[in-house]
């Protein structure tokens, strides 16, 4: 057994860096993951989440810095580290012309399972994925959400000490997403430590005990949810859904007295993107047809500012669909720290 007891540090990452040519994909990252927790890495596209995970999983070698898992160094004890890990890649890393059952049996074998233990764990994983009844169908006939569930199942059969999940819910329907989030909670309850990356702050808020916020290869904030929210202070988010964004309106909003920052993102558009359901019956397809935008305004005095914001939008001819004011969340933390939205 390792020296890290429950509550101790299972993973220690110190001054980790990775350069691809001139591009510093990861640029001096340090964090710890405690045994038994769900640790979140939150960051926009290109922040360096996947690169960080690839180094923890011994897939690529760091340019600088050290990583230990369960006390073993990734650089010198890769075999022992890999035995402790289950990795669910960001891509659906399955064989489309094999059935779910064949895929799971294969990946189980890659993790060293065989015989009746393999049979047992495959059955268990299929049940956890909620796909036991469709196990003998080819993965290519599955919907995006079902593929994601099998993608996860393939990484947990050997009951790893640390489960690493890289954006496991990208581009899937809400039903499958909920299923996956519940699965992660359940696995964590059973004692699995989880490293979860995402650019959906709702997921991270729902799942994670502690969160590292990444941007441009660096961790810009690290702590529990409460600690992070405190960073924003008493700033609230005014979130306005508009049908269109007339030219110059964002600058006009920034000029309003009491407004600290303004961002604009296409919410919802992304959720539909990757989930083009495979042919065949796919009941759980999403239908997100609107191309509305969400303008977020950070302000310490939301009550006073809200009327001005709506008035500016009205004058510019933007059609306002909804307005709401939220308590600080991870989104506003990110906004506060970087001046930009997590998704754009």
């Amino acid at each position: 057994m390792s020296d890290a007891a429950r509550g101790g540090d299972l993973v220690v990452v110190t001054d980790l860096a990775k350069r691809f040519g001139d591009n510093a994909a990861v640029d001096g990252v340090s964090f710890e993951i405690r045994e038994g927790e769900v640790f979140g890495l939150l960051g926009p596209n290109g922040a360096g989440k996947t690169t960080t995970i690839s180094m923890i999983s011994c897939l690529i070698a760091p340019s600088a810095g050290t990583i230990t898992v369960g006390g073993y160094s990734v650089a010198t004890d890769a075999a022992k580290v890999k035995n402790a890990l289950g990795v669910v890649p960001q891509e659906i890393a399955l064989y489309p012309t094999l059935t779910a059952l064949e895929n799971l049996r294969f990946w189980g074998r890659m993790y060293g399972l065989s015989g009746t233990l393999l049979d047992e764990r495959v059955t268990e994983a299929l049940e956890l994925a909620g796909l036991a009844d469709r196990a003998k169908e080819r993965v290519e006939t599955y919907s995006g959400g079902m593929k994601r569930r099998i993608n996860i199942a393939a990484g947990i059969m050997h009951r790893p000490r640390l489960l690493i999940m890289d954006e496991p819910t990208v581009g899937i329907d809400p039903q499958s997403r909920n299923h996956i989030l519940e699965t992660v909670k359940e696995l964590n309850h059973r004692g699995m430590t989880v490293l979860y990356t995402s650019h959906y702050m709702e997921e991270v808020e729902f799942l994670c005990d502690r969160v590292g916020i990444m941007d441009h290869g660096r961790i810009i904030a690290l702590g529990t949810l409460d600690e992070l929210k405190r960073l924003v202070g008493d700033e609230n988010v005014i979130s306005v859904r508009v049908a269109d964004v007339p030219e110059g309106v964002l600058d006009a909003l920034r000029a309003v007295a009491g407004v600290d920052s303004v961002t604009c993102s296409a919410e919802g558009a992304e959720a539909a993107a990757e989930d083009a359901p495979a042919e065949g019956p796919a009941a759980d397809a999403v239908t997100t047809t609107d191309d509305s935008r969400v303008i977020q305004v950070l302000s310490r005095d939301s009550g006073a500012v809200i009327a001005d914001v709506v008035a500016v939008l009205g004058r510019a001819g933007a059609r306002v669909l909804s307005v709401d004011v939220r308590e600080p969340n991870l989104e506003s933390v990110f906004l506060h720290l970087t001046g930009k939205s997590l998704r754009d």
């Binding site: 011994c58 897939l59 890393a93 094999l98 064949e102 074998r109 890659m110 993790y111 060293g112």
Partner: protein
């Protein structure tokens, strides 16, 4: 044992992939038939087969055998028979492809049979028309069997007739007729040998045999392209990185991928051998053939790693692989025999997998044994090792 599962998984994926099967199996089958018939008039099998009958027999038995080709409804449906008198002229017509075969009955045929001595019919067949030749031979065989049976029966009856001193000549006829019939039906001994000679030079192989070997080798080499595709795709689809993030060592992952290419190639070869054997191709010594096949597939496996290391994308793999495969097929004799190349080009075939492999297969088809193909096997394994070493050294994993 993980490498074994990786290899079996790749075999399974290929068997389910229609596009791969089309290229690895259907295309060579079609090309073998097209090339060998285009160059060997296999197409004429579809119509009547032109044959010559040369009956030099001064007695009546020769006519009994050969008349069937002109009078029998079934036979004249199959064959377009013409009577000739010069065996050498008939042989020449078969040799240059104008006729599919010729049957020659020697002048003393009846006399020898009637005096109880064995005799020989000569059959010329065109090696380029295996199927027609086979049909012609089996017809000639069954005719000669019947005649020999009849001749034995006749002799036996004649013996009894003499012993019993029967005076009535019609009685003798009836007894003989009876005896001939019963002997024919029961199938008796062979007193008439059938000597078959291919019209071309003895050890020359048919076009069908040649292209069965040449095309099989060329399409075994396509295995390298699919192997490289698979490696590059797995890299892009994250299944290769995913394997590397499991406790499976790199060497085992690469070994498994190579086992897959190897298994696919050996299965492909087995199917092509079975297919061409049905068409009548004789591959020769099984051990030698398996050795040559395994080392050829080994070279294709090494080449797969090489191509995947040099070409980074599926498109680049396709371009590079096709270039290499076509080049080796051209200089190695997959399209036309190396012997028709100009002299300065001929040594080039030693630079190709195809050259060594086809050379070995042809030698085995001509009756060569395992010992005869060992140098080729060594050369092929050398190429396999060379491709693999460069490939494994340059291969990018992520």
């Amino acid at each position: 044992m993980r490498w074994f599962h990786i290899g079996m998984r790749d075999l399974k994926i290929t068997v389910r992939d229609r596009a791969s099967l089309g290229i690895l199996l259907v295309m060579p089958m079609v090309l073998i038939i097209i090339l060998s018939s285009a160059l060997g008039n296999l197409a004429s099998n579809l119509g009547k087969t032109p044959v010559a009958i040369v009956n030099l027999d001064k007695g009546s038995v020769g006519a009994q055998i050969t008349d069937g080709f002109f009078t029998d409804g079934q036979l004249s449906e199959l064959f377009l028979a013409s009577r000739m008198h010069d065996p050498e002229a008939a042989r020449a017509l078969v040799a240059n492809g104008d006729l599919a075969g010729a049957l020659v009955v020697p002048a003393d045929f009846s006399r020898r049979l009637n005096t109880g001595r064995p005799s020989v019919l000569t059959l010329y067949t065109d090696p380029g028309r295996q199927i027609a030749g086979t049909v012609f031979r089996s017809v000639a065989e069954s005719l000669s069997t019947r005649v020999s049976a009849a001749s034995i029966a006749a002799r036996t009856s004649a013996y009894y007739v003499t012993r019993l001193r029967v005076k009535d000549p019609t009685f003798v006829g009836r007894v003989i007729g009876e005896a001939v019939r019963s002997a024919t039906e029961t199938g008796a001994l062979t007193a008439v040998g059938l000597k078959e000679t291919t019209a071309a030079k003895g050890e020359e192989l048919s076009q069908l045999s040649y292209y069965s070997g040449a095309m099989s080798v060329m399409f075994l080499m396509f295995g390298s392209m699919f192997g490289a595709f698979s490696l590059v795709r797995e890299r892009d689809n994250w299944t290769l990185p995913r394997m590397l993030m499991t406790p499976t060592p790199r060497a085992e992952v690469l070994g498994g991928k190579m086992l897959g290419v190897f298994l696919i190639g050996m299965c492909q070869f087995a199917v092509l051998v079975a297919f061409t054997s049905v068409l009548g191709v004789k591959w020769g010594d099984p051990l030698a053939t398996v050795l040559v096949a395994a080392s050829t597939v080994g070279a294709a496996t090494g080449l797969a790693v090489f191509i995947a290391a040099i070409a980074k994308t599926v498109r680049a793999v396709s371009g590079l692989a096709q270039m290499l495969i076509q080049f080796m097929a051209a200089v190695g004799g997959s399209f036309v025999p190396v012997s028709v190349f100009p002299a300065w080009m001929q040594p080039l075939h030693y630079a190709s997998v195809n050259g060594w492999a086809i050379d070995a297969i042809l030698s085995t088809m001509r009756g060569g044994n395992t010992l005869a193909v060992l140098p080729n096997v060594a050369a092929l394994l050398g190429m396999a090792a060379l491709f693999f070493t460069i490939g494994a050294w340059r291969l990018r994993w992520e």
